[in-house]
């Protein structure tokens, strides 16, 4: 469980997306965000905050899909 970041470009400008892979808010200067997008030049850092409500969990690279579960079960020898 950790703060995750990824850098991307938007119209020639570098941004950093920051989120928690534990479905928590990210916090900076006492303000909570469910996901933070910042211009890269500011180098902003965050800490993990409270757990987000279940309905606000976004599917993403860290969210296991049905296929992930099937693959994991197959590795254990389970026929799915």
């Amino acid at each position: 469980m950790a703060i995750r970041t990824e850098t991307y470009e938007l119209n020639g400008r570098q941004f950093v997306r920051t989120w928690s892979d534990a479905h928590r808010t990210v916090v900076r200067d006492g303000i909570s965000y469910s996901e933070a997008h910042d211009p890269a030049e500011f180098g902003r850092t965050y800490t993990e905050g409270e757990l987000l409500p279940r309905e606000e969990w976004e599917d993403g690279p860290n969210e296991a899909t049905a296929e992930d579960y099937e693959a994991a079960l197959k590795e254990l020898g389970v026929r799915v």
């Binding site: 119209n11 900076r28 303000i31 909570s32 469910s34 211009p39």
Partner: protein, 246 residues
């Protein structure tokens, strides 16, 4: 506006507090409009957190109300305009209100989760065009997790005018607050009015710069937002719905 109301029944305290705490503990008032002839409510005696219910309600003007109750709009399917400059918008109060055109309120209620006061169910079928958050200081917002929450305006596909009167920069919890609006990445664009004191900081990279602020900066990156200052504009003397500012 005149109330063509045959019978008005006001019942105080029946609801006992809305979801989220009712914005300061004010009385909840359930007003049931009888006989179906009323289309407008304009009542300075509406205080606390209000919940109104009528299939025929077209506009609500409640300048002394301090909150708008949960799911208000589901009880008022024809609502076009809401004027409550002292009211905090509680959980999902106008969610799904596909006829609402203007909303003047103090701001959204804060909470541990987003409260989605203006999120819509049906994308591309909404009427909302302008929102005026009148709070002079966003930090007075009741509840925790201050700021404009997730999906606040999601789906309001005509929403292109936002007025933020707070002298301090409104935090934006997630850029998805503007999904499906003209401010979104593929949107046609909209205008956000802010106080001169914040407008003067645009682009300077300080903590008062909306163009550098978390998530707001993404709108700037999309190129869909035009920033304007309230001072010197028509919104210095009137709210987004045209009501003069006293």
């Amino acid at each position: 506006m005149n109330n063509a109301i045959d019978t008005l029944l006001a019942v105080s305290g029946l609801l006992g507090g809305t979801s989220g705490g009712g914005g300061g503990g004010g009385k909840n008032q359930l007003i049931e409009l009888m006989n179906g002839n009323a289309v407008d409510v304009d009542d300075d005696s509406l205080t606390g957190s209000i919940t109104l219910s009528s299939a025929h309600l077209r506009s609500i003007r409640a300048k002394n109300a301090t909150g708008v109750g949960y799911n208000l709009c589901r009880l008022n399917p024809g609502l076009v305009a809401f004027f409550g400059p002292n009211a905090w918008l509680e959980t999902e109060c106008f969610k799904g209100c596909c006829t609402l055109v203007t909303c003047v309120a103090k701001g959204p209620y804060a909470g541990n989760s987003s409260v989605r006061p203006l999120q819509q169910y049906q994308v591309n079928k909404m009427a909302l065009t302008s929102v005026d958050f009148t709070a002079a200081d966003y930090s007075a917002q009741p509840g925790t997790a201050k700021g404009i929450g997730n999906q606040c305006f999601e789906g309001d596909y005509k929403f292109n005018l936002l007025i933020l009167r707070s002298a301090t920069l409104w935090p934006l919890a997630n850029i998805n607050a503007f999904d499906g609006t003209p401010f979104a990445s593929v949107g046609s664009g909209g205008t956000i009015y802010i106080p001169k004191a914040l407008y003067d900081h645009l682009g300077d990279g300080t903590a008062l710069d909306y163009k550098a602020a978390t998530n707001w900066s993404t709108l700037d990156g999309y190129g869909t937002v035009t920033w304007a200052q309230i001072d010197g504009s028509i919104y210095e003397t009137q709210y987004a719905d045209g009501t003069p500012i006293a």
